[in-house]
Chain length 555, copies 2
Amino acid sequence: MTTIDWTNRCVQVDRDTFGRAVAELKTAIGEQYVTDSAADLERAARATVPDPKKPSLIIYPGNATEVATAVAIANRYQLPLWPCSSGRNWGYGSATPVLENTAILHLRRMNRILEVNDELAYAVIEPGVSYRQLRDYLELNHSDLWCDSTDGPPEGSVIGNALDRGLGVTHYADHFGTLCGLEVVLPSGEVIRTGGGPKHCATWHTHKWGVGPYIEGLFSQGNFGVVTKAGVWLIPRPEAFASFTFDLARPEDLPKLVDVIREMALRGILNSACHLINDVVTLSVLAQYPADMLDKYSRLPDDVLDEMRKRLKISHWSLGGGIQGSRKMVRLVKEELRKRLGPLGRIMFLDEGRVKGVETLNRLRQRSSLRMPIDWAVRTFAGKSPEMLQAAPHIHSVLTGRPSDYFVRHAYFKSRLPKPDIADPDRDNVGLIWFAPIAPMTGGHIQKVLDICRPLFRRYEFDFYAALLMQNPRSMIVLMSIFFLKEDQQQVLAAKELYEQLSRATSAATYQPYRVSVLGMGHLTSVSPESARFVRMLKSAVDPQGILAAGKYGI
Amino acid sequence: MTTIDWTNRCVQVDRDTFGRAVAELKTAIGEQYVTDSAADLERAARATVPDPKKPSLIIYPGNATEVATAVAIANRYQLPLWPCSSGRNWGYGSATPVLENTAILHLRRMNRILEVNDELAYAVIEPGVSYRQLRDYLELNHSDLWCDSTDGPPEGSVIGNALDRGLGVTHYADHFGTLCGLEVVLPSGEVIRTGGGPKHCATWHTHKWGVGPYIEGLFSQGNFGVVTKAGVWLIPRPEAFASFTFDLARPEDLPKLVDVIREMALRGILNSACHLINDVVTLSVLAQYPADMLDKYSRLPDDVLDEMRKRLKISHWSLGGGIQGSRKMVRLVKEELRKRLGPLGRIMFLDEGRVKGVETLNRLRQRSSLRMPIDWAVRTFAGKSPEMLQAAPHIHSVLTGRPSDYFVRHAYFKSRLPKPDIADPDRDNVGLIWFAPIAPMTGGHIQKVLDICRPLFRRYEFDFYAALLMQNPRSMIVLMSIFFLKEDQQQVLAAKELYEQLSRATSAATYQPYRVSVLGMGHLTSVSPESARFVRMLKSAVDPQGILAAGKYGI
């Protein structure tokens, strides 16, 4: 018999039952796609968050039928499953479940791009399809379509991120908002299509709401089924594209800047999910924690941070975003941005032409004889550091929705390892927790969230990393990261406590998280008991044994 | 005891139980707010669709607590309730339930505007608040905010329409898409707030998804609860606004036009839910069915339609929409529209200045000496009829989201009554059924839907009324109306048969309705059995006795 022990947050597995379940799964899915080898489980249990839960088994189904079979078998043996698309949910728990001893249902083998509709600009894909795979495929075969991406791992799952309501960088950044039409294996093993549709419903991937109650929401940040296929809206390649970066002159103008951004977003001037990042974020992208300080400090001393900021010409807050449309439209938006942002700081635009120029400069800098004069010119005339010059083409590229390894390497900021070409913080034992409340996008609210959180970071001696991401014209995510050394037990403890304190303080101040790490799913203080009760009632009807993703988002 | 008799589509009411329920409801809600008088029930049973179901009782709660009390009492006596916001769901069933003998839970007394947030551009309102009420309130108190509206009844409920996923006219036309943060009385009588939030969640009305599974969808086109309060996103008054109307030169270019619209929508040039209407739609707005033909024909003979079209200068297909933004932005969009639509027909723009000019002309036309020369000039130079001249200011106004009595009077096209100042087709026994499949927005798909439906209208001898409404850049609603004489039993029968045939034929061709009338809820052929089973499973968990809106959307 298998039971869930909520107190110890684990699943109690009777070895006999478990053995029979594994045997049956191996027969159904294939010997090589069901593993409980110690090495595999150990690898799957790695995550950047503290205390990741170890799975009991990993199942790699190859298609929806095998998912249904696995779910049916799991039901028969009361074996809890944790579906996971690509396992790149870094900072939120990676591939690891909420409860110890759960079996991971890993969907990475299901990585087919089933359809791309050029006319209607959407793709139908499986959960194992990554941003990089989709973008590469589009560039090769459908050059008039772009997909959005996060600035996180290029190998992240497009569907997985959308279902967890992740945010991208373009005007299609609300990934759940641009997901349309799901195929879902229910906990019963039955397969349904959302929108109420039968197999060949013409608007399955073009009309989000379908007919009758709209149920796709239940499968986002939820555990009502395993999504095995989904429609994803794509971006028609714009006639023109430009990116911009803006440096806020006076940090005390941040609330003003937030209000200007909202105003522009509400009026349709700014459409893309622009990112407003603080100095530590920029620093973590451009540089590395000074190695000699790693053991001494868990927070950079103020004077060191000041010195680095000056040397790298990092401003307290920088804003970046994309502009797309016809050539004239882009020109007009640039004009508006200049007019509205100009009084608050310095704005710079990049387009393909300028990016080529910057890339040439970056190449010329390789020659030692040219480095000094180029750096001098860049500092003096553009007000930028050479490090920023190197980052610029990456920023421009990612803002078109093209996934990039460049930014995700910032996770290694506090690692003892130098930033690798291909980041894999799970493999490299990097310590990182995301904490992400969302607030109404007014200067007042954003300032309040920052004022609540900044002192807590200081109290626990961690660098205050804050990125403000526009979720929609009325809401902004305050994305904070706790970087810590996993090998330092004291830091791990402090990171966990800080996370706990942040959750409590923001929730008490009426701010809800937009997304939660497995670490925080046990005590969602910002969810009302009656709401949770309602969702649990629905869940029990569909999954009476609690087989699927038990404990996800507190359900 | 009360039971639902699905075969006879009614509720079997034991008079004793019913009497006790009524007594208890009267004590709780107030004698005057609970009525089962024959006259009241007869009035509530009027609807433009055929065979509206008569309710057994009408309850008018005054607030959420009374709604909860009513639901609790209904549960105790197994008295099925049909929640209704304002009862203006004309063409889809008005206030009437799916099953005979259901009690109507009428929310029209709950009509408070609880909050308007100027900074974040949203309002919090009760379900009894109408478009007109909200717009008037904003114009008086918050002149920098607009709300969207349908071109239907101004007294329609903002929340009711959004929950049924109705469509408006501006870039906020997807009414369910701009609904954010609900207070819901569950079938158990318990009250929850969506988004998982506790009472004071700061982003309740700014962030649609909340945290955890997104459940608002269950309350749209659904029967999982009674919405007693909701956030509605408002439009910041644009710096500039213009409307356009476009007449397609050759009807055979319709598919081309649809493709051009999609392209412009996908590229963000067209943002508002532009309406593409056929000759019969324009006719029904501008004119009246020739009185002498009402008894002879249920469909205008081709030569009569031709003659009317020529006289009124109505083209086979006309497109209308709004443009908003900065002055320069509006100018740019006009330029794009001219470039892209120009080759296919004739485009005309209106702004506040031109509207004033047109209004002056319309006034001058009142003088008999000026009428002829003005009409001659309008016909010759603008290519418009005097009737269109009169319609123009109404079109411009409604496209800013301002509700209007003007358009809804088209329901009287085939009525024996002249169009009244204030339309009330229920009161006036007007026969009207909406049928509204949705298709991917490509010329091919739209043409196909029209080709399926047009011959059916002809077979049953009804005028082919078709309006193509952009739901999003990838989908278009093909809104068809069956106008019939309610007093003519043969026409009623034919209208019902046509509706049935349209449902079957479009569903067989893979097109789903975007919204359904109570008439069609009993046999949603376009919903797959497994999807329906899943939703019913959820419904049973929440409302085991089927108290709320039994039969709504087949659930």
